[in-house]
């Protein structure tokens, strides 16, 4: 997967997170973690994951979700399942 496609997925994930957390000015990069984003807690995490699953028509395992560390690893997971 080239860097352009990764950027596209990052932009789409950014849009989902920004929508779920109501943060219109959100600008994540691949190293962004939940701790960096206000309101991204254990409650909103699930909403974000479910929205990403809907968007890409995929289903992650709970172990995969547990191992997510940053936006970059979320991109990897989307690529793996798509």
């Amino acid at each position: 997967m080239d860097s352009t496609s990764r950027q596209v997925i990052l932009d789409q994930i950014n849009a989902i997170v920004s929508d779920v957390l109501r943060l219109p000015d959100l600008c994540m990069d691949e190293a962004t973690t939940a701790n960096d984003v206000p309101g991204w807690d254990s409650l909103t995490h699930i909403q974000i994951i479910i929205e990403i699953e809907r968007k890409y028509g995929v289903r992650f395992t709970s172990t995969e979700v547990a191992q997510l560390e940053d936006a970059g690893s979320l991109i990897e997971l989307v690529i793996k399942h798509s």
């Binding site: 254990s42 995490h45 994951i49 479910i50 992650f60 395992t61 709970s62 979700v65 547990a66 997510l68």
Partner: protein
């Protein structure tokens, strides 16, 4: 009966059982797993090192700062094998709160995982009782002058060698801290005998055996984790620890790992339901579901029964002071008209539950009080608080829960609200006065009132909001300061400056009036700024 079957102390009992279940899997965490032999050999090595290098043993406390990785569980078992008392800290708490718990507990040693090693200097600085820090995953902490033990000193030890607790054990298995109304957490010491009494009680309503797989969902500072770990390891079963960021996907986890037993607060189930993840028959392997920690609604119980059709659903009730849970009610699903709130049921055999008036008379409606072998002796180093919360009647020593209840012959005890300002926020027990105390200081306001909020009226609280009278500090700065002092679930969602505070006829802050303040409705609608 073999000697190690005698419930002398938890450590001796557990290591005795581990010797008989060596090859069975004891623990799964984040894809890694340990057999009983591996778990107990690692723990035994740490226990021996704590005893030899630092004089840890009966009467001493060992604090543990770790995510719920293998290290956390190994450290808990190690502390018990050393004959000492474990004191869980929480990586999700602010440093200041962990320091406060360390200080109040008078912990002698601290075991820490790799992820928090760099933080340790800040956590332990200037605490007089602490003498030893251990890093089971290796490394040392720069700039820390205390004695440090790394991976080599803490290396595993053969399971057949006697563990320190087998020759000398202490009174208390663990010391937990819960929210306290005076602005500092209060310590609840639980003895080995208390834990065995709980395990005896819970075993009267479930049969957990070596083929079972128990889910471990809650933080180790929450005593529901005591049920998970010790019911599991005294049964030869396997504990599956679900990481913090995957808790709401745990229905998937159940089907992926064939989990058979579940314990959580009802809020967790409610949130899974709300997210549309509680699909019918999605958890067919579950045999036992326990809900504890807050009111269980009939609608959640019914939805759960559909998702886990082969599971018993039991509402268990009790405060940390009476060791995890004290009473149980078996919910029979399929009701056309589910109850608003599922009853608390009857106490476990041999334990006593009664309703008392403020003046200490038994009655049909009143404060739920508990007596028996599960109840703690008293609060940690706080005889005054103990005297306020415990009293003698009918030849027994009773603990006042602060919960109001009534009794029904068919259903047992029923919950009727709180007698004070304690609430449950997402299942965590919170004294609103503790939050008020912190907000008052940080907002520099003379009068602060904190109220819980829920997404719909009558539903469990999801957070709290503070009203501050003429604060000198702005909201954002105050919130930042609160985050540094309080666990995330205790930090108010908003701090609202008011120029006038409503009072009731007794001259007390009118919380009922504040509940209908327009700002509360706005928070329920859109909690975050």
């Amino acid at each position: 009966m073999e000697a190690d079957c005698l419930p002398k102390d938890l450590g001796s009992t557990l290591i005795g059982l581990a010797r008989r279940n060596r090859q069975s899997t004891a623990l799964w965490s984040r894809g890694a797993q340990l057999s009983y032999e591996e778990l107990f050999e690692r723990a035994s090595g740490i226990a021996q090192a704590l005893v030899e290098n630092g004089g840890v043993g009966p009467g001493k406390r060992v604090a543990i700062l770790s995510d719920r990785t293998l290290t956390a569980y190994v450290s808990i078992v190690a502390t018990l094998l050393a004959g000492a008392t474990y004191v869980p800290l929480n990586p999700r708490f602010p440093i200041q709160r962990n320091r406060q718990i360390l200080q109040e507990s008078g912990a002698f040693a601290l075991l820490c995982d790799e992820r928090h090693r760099a933080l340790i200097g800040e956590v332990v600085e200037g605490l007089p009782s602490l003498e030893l820090v251990g890093f089971p995953e290796g490394g040392i902490a720069e700039g820390v002058t205390l004695k440090q033990l790394g991976a080599e000193a803490l290396s595993p030890r053969p399971l057949d060698l006697s563990a320190p607790c087998e020759s000398a054990s202490g009174d208390f298995a663990y010391l937990f801290f819960t929210s306290g109304s005076t602005g500092k957490p209060k310590g609840v010491p639980i003895s080995h005998a208390n834990v065995f009494a709980y395990l005896d009680g819970i075993r009267t309503i479930c049969n957990i055996g070596p083929s079972d797989r128990l889910l471990q969902l809650v933080d180790l500072t929450f005593d529901l984790s005591v049920h998970d770990m010790f019911l599991c390891w005294t049964s030869g079963a396997c504990l599956y620890s679900v990481p913090e960021n995957a808790v709401l996907l745990c229905t998937r986890f159940v089907s992926e790992h064939d989990i058979t037993a579940w314990l959580s607060v009802p809020s967790t189930a409610g949130l899974i339901k709300q997210a549309g993840l509680l699909e019918p028959s999605s958890m067919p392997t579950l045999r036992h579901t326990f809900f504890c920690g807050e009111a269980l609604t009939g609608t959640v119980a019914e939805a759960w029964a559909e998702a886990a059709p082969n599971s018993h659903i039991t509402n268990i009730y009790g405060p940390t002071e009476a060791t995890v849970a004290f009473s149980a009610f078996q919910y029979v699903p399929g009701r056309k008209d589910p109850p608003a709130v599922v009853p608390l049921g009857e106490p476990f055999p041999g334990q006593h539950m009664a309703l008392f008036s403020e003046t200490g008379e038994k009655q049909d409606f009143g404060e739920i009080c508990l007596a028996g072998s599960q109840v703690m002796e008293g609060y940690w180093q706080d005889p005054e608080l103990t005297a306020r919360r415990m009293f003698d009647a009918d030849g027994r020593r009773w603990y006042r829960t602060g919960d109001l209840g009534r009794y029904d012959v068919g259903e047992g005890f029923l919950y009727s609200g709180r007698a004070d300002h304690q609430v449950k926020i997402r299942g965590y027990r919170v004294e609103l006065q503790e939050i008020e105390h912190v907000v008052r200081e940080e907002a520099r306001s003379d009068l602060v009132a904190v109220l819980p909020w829920s997404q719909k009226p009558g539903e469990p609280a999801m957070g709290c909001a503070a009203f501050a009278l003429n604060p000198l500090q702005d909201e954002i700065t105050t919130l930042q300061a609160c985050r540094a002092r309080l666990p995330e679930y205790m930090v108010p969602t908003r701090i609202l400056a008011v120029t006038d505070m409503p009072f009731n006829a007794n001259g007390k802050v009118d919380y009922v009036a504040l509940r209908s303040h327009p700002m509360m409705a706005r928070i329920m609608e859109r909690p975050r700024r």
